[in-house]
């Protein structure tokens, strides 16, 4: 296994990203409003937290760097193969990324198409993606679960959930 595939190297890259994130957030805090009479400024607490995060990120960075440069003994857990996030090399990761994209689309369409329809669509797509091929069962479960959940939330818990193009369904339920 190459050094660049080890967990220690992954930690090194993670700590670099984190350091960049911490520097950016610290710069952001300098723009917070200042109250002249206040003993503790609105920026104080976030700055303390960023400093704490920075200290432990530096510790992780140094630990990982030393392990990568000096090498590790074979029993070191950081010498194991790191998890992959490359969707082009790992079909599982590609599927996970696809689910993330579906979730983002779900959020966008939640209000427009309504909970039941958008939930049924995402369920069918994910079931198909992970290898379910019993289409009758897929369609039945995908529609029934959101429909029952909507009914429970709408009728029993009085939570109004967007129904989008299935709005007439709500009118029917209201009539009864």
């Amino acid at each position: 296994m190459k050094k660049t595939q080890s967990k220690a190297f992954a930690n090194l890259i993670c700590s670099l990203f984190l350091l960049a994130f911490e520097i950016w957030t610290y710069i952001e805090t300098t723009g917070f409003r200042i109250h002249k009479r206040a003993h503790v400024q609105p920026a104080t607490f976030p700055q303390i937290m960023i400093t704490g995060m920075f200290i432990f990120t530096v510790i992780l960075f140094v630990q990982s760097l030393l392990k990568v440069i000096r090498g590790m003994n074979e029993f070191d857990p950081d010498n194991e193969m790191s998890a992959s996030i490359n969707p082009f090399k790992n079909r599982g990761v590609a599927a996970a990324f696809f689910v993330i994209v579906l979730c983002v689309l779900y959020t966008y369409l939640f209000d427009r198409l309504g909970y039941v329809l958008v939930s049924a669509c995402i369920s069918i797509i994910i079931m198909w993606l992970i290898g379910k091929r019993n289409f009758v069962m897929m369609i039945l479960v995908s529609f029934l679960v959101p429909l029952i959940m909507w009914f429970i939330f709408y009728k029993l818990l009085t939570v109004n959930i967007p129904m989008g193009i299935l709005q007439p369904l709500r009118d029917i339920v209201d009539k009864f």
Binding site: C14, G52, F75, I130
Partner: protein
């Protein structure tokens, strides 16, 4: 203590068919509501308050306490079975509950959770009955200094739940504390990390964040595992002969139950601190005190017992300041306070003088609510345990759509659905690179409490933070926190050394 009146109140409550019926109904509703990610006991109590308008005080309090206790246990069902805590206070239960489920011990984990919840609840109710004025007096000595140090004590537990790398655990914790500062600053209303995006003004809602970090991240990782061929369908071959844990298990976990119940009751009695803090404190304490801390987090009954007993212990604890001082200990007791006032009873010190029979009946109703939770829970264990047998290819999409609906229902906001997805992605990536998620959760709970009390204390003392040294309880909390951190670091080193040795042994063999 008027023993005759206390006995009479217990007899009255335990022989009233209406009170028993309402409490059982409440417990059933609470368990079902609690098991849905996003639905909390507070919501359940608030939703059912209108139904209690027409009832007498004790049946209505029985109904509401049934929901409260049932909801506390219900949250652990989804935490154990699908890695999605139903309520915030069930977040620590999944640390050992979910691994137990993965080992094919879902029924055992559920029965331990139920039994520990019952014992913790009974312990809390007993302490409430006998020590409420004393505990309330002590809890009311808590000012911003003590609350700040209590929050610090809660945060010290992070070291023990950090897993293999303390540095990664602490990075997660500081990240969580930083996330807790997003939105308007609680003292001056200054905008922080809002970037002109209005919904961010109120920060990240806790429950969508919780659902995202655990449930959505688990769905994404589950899909990856199925496609990569790493996920195998679990078949529930576990035979549940007893719905309650056996004697050997009880012998193993009874100390965790008692310590968890005591921690839960004490923390529950402090206004503003609730089950979500108590469970992590109890988990950290019990892990540190364990002879085999390396086994915690791998799916051991002790982890489930320690958290669930603390969780329900809080119910008794939270009732203490409510009844003796008229100050609600948490959100549910705040709603209960409303129910008392609606019935023309004002909780507070005078209630012990003018309404002593009512006080004793409330004690008895809480005891009955815990018993009702046990009865309904026992009836449901076999049914709940079957959920793990549902085909994963069907279960993951169902978890996804139910969880996202739970996230939406809190504030009826699409933004919360987005927050849930965002934290799902963050949780998935953090899991990949072995950054623990629980510290973020604890930090999100304790962050606002920590900041508000820090600012208040410094302002009251004209900028002199060192004034805190004149507060003995606060100093006590600080010393206990430091001891907890040092002991947890020592424990973690021991665990890492033991694991390295075992790996060497396995390699040589």
């Amino acid at each position: 203590m008027n023993w005759g009146l206390l006995f009479e109140s217990y007899v009255n409550v335990f022989t009233s068919a209406q009170v028993i019926g309402m409490t059982l109904l409440g417990a059933l509703g609470g368990i079902l509501l609690g098991a849905v990610p996003g639905m909390t006991a507070t919501m359940g109590v608030a939703l059912l308050i209108p139904f209690s308008f027409g009832m007498d005080l004790i049946p209505s309090i029985g109904l509401l306490l049934g929901i409260y206790c049932g909801g506390m246990y219900g949250g652990s069902i989804s935490a154990i079975l699908i890695h999605a805590p139903g309520t915030p206070s069930a977040a620590a239960t999944l640390l050992d509950g979910y691994p137990m489920c993965q080992k094919g011990q879902a029924g055992k984990a559920l029965s331990i959770a139920m039994f520990s919840s019952f014992c913790g609840g009974v312990l809390g109710a007993l302490i409430m009955t006998f020590l409420s004025p004393l505990v309330a007096q002590m809890a009311m000595k808590f000012t911003s200094a003590e609350m700040l140090m209590l929050a610090f004590f809660g945060l010290s537990v992070i070291v023990s739940i950090s897993g293999k790398s303390i540095a990664k655990g602490l990075i997660s914790a500081f990240f969580g504390l930083l996330l807790a500062t997003v939105g308007q600053d609680p003292t001056y209303g200054a905008k922080r990390f809002v970037f002109g995006f209005r919904p961010l003004l109120s920060g990240f809602s806790f429950i969508p964040t919780l659902i995202g970090l655990f449930a959505i991240a688990e769905v994404i990782a589950g899909v990856e595992r199925i496609i990569s061929g790493e996920e195998k369908q679990q078949k529930s071959e576990e035979k549940i002969t007893n719905v309650l844990p056996d004697f050997t298990t009880i012998k193993r976990i009874w100390l965790n139950i008692i310590s968890g119940g005591l921690i839960g009751t004490f923390i529950g009695a402090i206004p503003g601190a609730g089950g979500d803090i108590a469970v992590f404190v109890s988990y950290g304490f019990n892990k540190s005190a364990s002879k085999h801390p390396e086994l915690w987090g791998t799916g051991i009954p002790n982890g489930v017992a320690a958290t669930e007993s603390a969780n329900n212990g809080c119910s008794g604890g939270a009732m203490i300041p409510l009844l003796s001082l008229g100050v609600p200990g948490d959100a549910v007791t705040a709603v209960l306070l409303g129910a008392f006032i609606m019935k023309g009873i004002q909780p507070g010190p005078m209630m012990y003088v003018n309404e002593l029979p009512t006080v004793y009946r409330v004690f008895a109703a809480l005891m009955l609510a815990n018993l009702a939770m046990l009865i309904v829970g026992c009836a449901g264990v076999r049914f709940f345990a079957k959920i793990v047998s549902v085909e994963k290819k069907m279960l993951y999409p169902i978890i996804l759509v139910v969880s996202l609906l739970g996230a939406f229902s809190i504030n009826k906001s699409i933004f919360d659905v987005g927050v849930c997805v965002l934290f799902g992605v963050i949780g998935y990536l953090m899991n990949k690179f072995e950054f623990p998620l629980s510290p973020i959760l604890l930090a999100l709970i304790l962050g606002p409490m920590c900041e508000q009390n820090f600012v208040r204390f410094v302002d009251v003392n004209n900028g002199n933070f060192w004034e805190i040294l004149n507060r003995p309880i606060a100093v006590g909390f600080f010393l206990v926190s430091v001891a907890t951190i040092l002991f947890s670091i020592y424990n973690q080193r021991k665990i890492n050394m033991r694991e390295a040795k075992n790996r060497k042994k396995a390699e040589n063999a």
